[in-house]
Amino acid sequence: MSTTLETAPIPTPRALTTNPRTSDKIFRGVVTGFGMTALLILTLIGLFLSVRGIQTLHTQGFGFLTRYSWEVTQTDSGTTYNMGIGAMLLGTVMISIVALVVGVPLSIAMALFLTFYAPARIKTFLVSIVDLMAAFPSVLFGLWGFFVLMPMATYWAKLIFKYLHWIPAFNAPQYFFERSPFIAGLVLAIMIIPIVTSVAREVFAQTPLDRIQAAYALGSTKWGVIKAVVFPFGSSGVVGGAMLGLGRAFGETVAVYTVLNIVFKGNFHVLYGAGGNVASMIILKWGEATGDETTALLAAGFILFLLTLLVNLGANFIVRNTLKSGK
């Protein structure tokens, strides 16, 4: 017995180390490299467009942001440019406000319906529908908005004008309501519904169940529960979702271009058929633009990029904080 013990080979102890092996080092390096490409791309976008933007700000001055005109005059001595995106920025904000005012309440209603009212089957179906909406091509919204929504929305605009024209925003200098910021805002409202709804739904679903049950136990109605428990818990998340929608609304191009009459004039009347939008203006002018005008369009793109970046980062910050507090 003792002989067998002595002859059995004793395995050398395995090297125990916490140092990553070569294969892991390579793996971690490669994956980290890919992870950083996102950062690289975003930085490059900012860099390339800002170089052009600074050029334009240099030639046009800060009036580029506030001026309402876009004039390229060709004379014998050369071409003079007098360009500004003030009207477009104003229009973008106006359309986005319409989109939020219409889209956010609808999204909240939809999210509440999905979370607290809908039977399971209808819920699955509607969730798919809302997600599908997010995948619809934007040119489809444009086509539908122009041929289907516009005739209806023009009629609605006339009704609003008839009864509410004493409110300055709903007044109009002329009786022309087609292709107005109002209609573009309605199209955008439909386009932001999926994102706002899904964020709101996610936040509402995180409401602590014990608090909901406690409210019911105290004899509350469903609406009472929503008002007293769900809204206070989820309101900041809904604000974040609305801001994500706002970011989308700022950057939407083709759909807005199709339904909006783009005019380089400051127009504060929502229902009147003249408006502006930075993203759509870029495609409108792109085909014919040369020289400094192209650069100015790139500068407009840069400003749009900055705007959406700010709105998105703010929105994500709010949404993440809300979702974290629910866990």
Partner: protein
């Protein structure tokens, strides 16, 4: 005297369940709402579909409020108003989708001809009747764009997701933020960026590849975020088991984590493709828009389905708009097919 006589059958009570009376009340409310709305349209100043819907909502809400106050007391006032508002809101959200799907089908089918799939527009004009020319070039263009964008963005997206879930390096928070910021980059900005950084500077000129680069920027965030969600669902036990067996992290990820999440990663890819298949704005700056079939993705102008729709729409004659409807129907079917596949594959994790 038997023991069974003492047994009292206790049925679980469900006080929240609708009783026959409740159902009858709901039916009555809806019916009366319709009647009152019809009467309002007929006899008062209200008119049209809008007036009818308006009157119906008001009447049905009022009746609902009346009945629930009778049943539950004053407390029910806010509840029933809110309930009917929520139902109205949910319906109003659903209606546009239904309308979009139905009208696209109705208008698109009218123009569907076999020649759409077999010819390009080289010998035809957009203003010709739809029997002339087709959209083969646009279909092939879209496929080329999708394939190139996939080749570029899927590895990048999945690797970024792996970085965020497996490596969790110092930069994770930053990268998470960057990916979220990237998903908000307007499509028109992606197009402008590729125009200035690639088409103006490098030898790669206006072509399918340039368009695909712009689409890649839009696709990466979708792929990353979906992949990340899926990878997070892979149980940590599996990773620990792999490491405990003596595998390196690389082996664990490559042979355990990624295969476990395979279906989800395919879903992520498909959702990314669905996201970019219909993008129009970036293509305006990058692919030029050809009328002829072009199989070389790196040279010469290219077309794509959304671009074809766009062109038909901007020309604005009945014939060209018919072309747009038909092309958008084909594009929509493509997106729907992708979406359904993604849903079926990812069905298990979608709750």
């Amino acid at each position: 005297m038997t023991t069974t006589a003492n047994v009292i059958e206790v049925k679980p009570r469900k006080p929240w369940k609708a009783t026959p009376t409740d159902r009858a009340t709901t039916a009555f409310v809806l019916l009366m709402g319709l009647v009152i709305a019809a009467a309002a349209v007929k006899f008062t100043g209200l008119s049209g579909k809008l007036g009818f819907v308006f009157a119906f909502v008001i009447a049905a809400t009022a009746l609902e409020v009346f009945f629930s106050i009778r049943k539950y007391g004053r407390k029910a006032l806010g509840d029933s108003i809110a309930t009917s508002l929520i139902y109205v809101g949910a319906t109003a959200t659903f209606l546009p989708v239904a309308s979009i799907l139905l009208i696209t089908l109705k208008n698109g089918v009218k123009g569907l001809r076999w020649n759409l799939f077999t010819t390009d527009m080289f010998n035809a004009s957009f203003l010709d009747p739809i029997g002339n020319g087709g959209l083969l070039h646009a279909l092939i263009g879209t496929l080329l764009l999708i394939v190139i964008a996939m080749i570029l963005s899927v590895p990048m997206g999945i690797m970024t997701a792996l970085y965020l879930t497996e490596i969790r390096g110092k930069g994770s928070n930053l990268i998470q933020f960057v990916v979220q910021a990237m998903s908000g980059v307007p499509s028109v900005v992606a197009g402008l960026f590729i125009f200035t950084s690639v088409i103006l500077i490098t030898p790669l000129k206006t072509s399918a590849a340039a368009g695909a680069l712009a689409l890649t920027i839009l696709m990466i965030p979708t792929v990353t975020r979906t992949s990340q969600e899926v990878l997070l669902l892979v149980p940590g036990d599996l990773r620990e088991a792999g490491l405990a067996m003596g595998a390196t992290q690389w082996k664990t990820v490559a042979t355990i984590v990624v295969p476990a999440a395979r279906n989800g990663l395919i879903t992520a890819t498909i959702l990314g493709v669905a996201r970019i298949a219909g993008e129009t704005a970036p293509l305006i700056f990058t692919i030029g828009g050809a009328d002829k079939l072009n199989l070389n993705p790196f040279k010469d102008y290219q077309s794509a389905l959304p671009f074809y729709v766009w062109k038909g729409l901007t020309l604005g004659t009945p014939e060209s708009i018919q072309r747009s409807w038909s092309a958008i129907l084909i594009l929509l079917i493509l997106v729907l097919a992708l979406f359904t596949t993604a849903r079926t594959l990812g069905g298990r994790r979608m709750k």
